[in-house]
Symmetry: C2
Subunit: 256 residues, 2 copies
């Protein structure tokens, strides 16, 4: 049986511990190519690089695995992997991460990890973003590893993800199991720390706290709180279908 | 009657012609504050600035309108407007644009214009992103202007947008009317132009063509093609609800 071709990327940068753990897992399963940012790209969302050229450099970071660092965003990495490196090669799966920190709830829209996976899903590739609820680069992934392997193998066996994209978040410590659920409602309430630079000019540094706004429990944050891995099927159609009829009043505002 | 407070931003930068047209329209309707990037930020998606400080500078660009240029992304602009500039002031509406170029179909996820509007919608503010299907900074917005004004007035009158966010795209030339519809299915098929720099190293510049993948006509691209303004109610819940049950097979992959 032909081994699946697996593309690996992330947003913490190619030297982050999380991507190393992920590469070790997928090496056992398929033929792996890594294309990841040459520096941290957290919070890059679905940014792409239009106004400047991109660089790709072959690196020897993962034993026996073809690997490239890229000067662009996580989404750029996926586009270059598909168009320049793998070209006609069929990619059976794209995995992104393991992110250091949560991409549950609204974090998905800011996340370079998830945007990279979404870009691959757009291009017709089944994709999984993995995130671990520990920001530390010394995070211990031991408990997470067998679950990650099992999710990847399940998706490859089924050969299909109905939405082509899943957002997997993994709690620290003991794991109770896996819950398939929806994205929790919530928002970052931004606060900025204002300071004055040595020339007397003000500057602002983003901080903020998370405001949970969900009234029900069938969501990713509640699953994580209960010690479960959350799996949220996700997609890129941002249409709010139930509003289409309610907005028909705008159609009357015509100017002859 | 109290005049509505309107926040204006964009992604082409505060000196782009599109934002000037938008400011002229909303000045007639409400009290306006502009917070927009100090340089072009197209394709920035939902990127935020975490690793460096942000600058805000008061500028005199629009007569009688409080205006700031910001060193960050479009989403940073909205966050700073809300947290640092307007604070406790209620924002009745956020308008983003007028973007030079289409944000219909999948462009919404790469667009700084739409991400800024989405960020405001996340914070509970009714938001509209406007985009005009002409990349030129010499674009003629004459036909578009009365429609933009009428959409803004309608949304302010109704005081509610069921999804809090709409994506408005406007064709060049004659306008047939307004259609409320869904995001068309499609994807950018990326190609990269490879060149060699003066030191002999390769670099890649993103290009690409759009691949229309929709089998039906009730979408924004078809509306635009027929000369209509497209209005797509949009939101930030990326859950693919219909897949939740189909993915329950993953819940069985537990490791005791």
């Amino acid at each position: 049986m032909k081994r699946p071709k697996i593309l690996v990327t992330n947003d913490d940068g190619i030297v982050a511990p999380g991507i190393k753990v992920l590469v070790e897992i997928v090496k056992k399963i398929g033929d792996v190519v890594v294309v990841a940012p040459d520096k941290p790209q957290s919070g890059q969302g679905h940014a792409i690089t239009l106004e400047s050229p991109l660089r790709l450099k072959k690196v020897e970071l993962f034993e026996g695995v073809e690997s490239y660092e890229c000067s662009g965003t996580p989404v750029d990495c996926v586009k270059l992997a598909k168009s320049v490196i793998l070209k006609e090669d069929n990619i059976d799966l794209c995995v992104s991460g393991i992110n250091h920190g949560s991409n549950a709830s609204i974090n998905i829209i800011y996340s370079g990890t998830m945007s990279a996976a979404m870009e691959a899903s757009l291009e017709g590739i089944n994709s999984i973003g993995f995130s671990f609820l520990d920001f530390s680069f010394k995070a211990d992934f031991t408990n997470a590893t067998p679950y990650i392997e099992s999710i990847i193998r399940s998706v490859l066996d089924k050969k299909t993800l109905p939405s082509r994209l899943i957002n997997v978040n993994i709690p620290k410590g003991d794991i109770a199991g896996i819950k398939v659920c929806r994205q929790a409602k919530g928002v970052w309430v931004e606060e900025f720390k204002e300071s004055i630079d040595p020339r007397g000019e003000p500057y602002y540094w983003m901080t903020g706290k998370f405001d949970y706004q969900d009234s029900k429990n069938d969501n990713d944050l509640k699953a994580l709180e209960a010690g479960y891995i959350s799996v949220v099927p996700s997609h890129h159609d941002l249409t709010h279908y139930s509003s289409i009829d309610a907005l028909k009043y705008l159609e009357t505002s015509e100017h002859e």
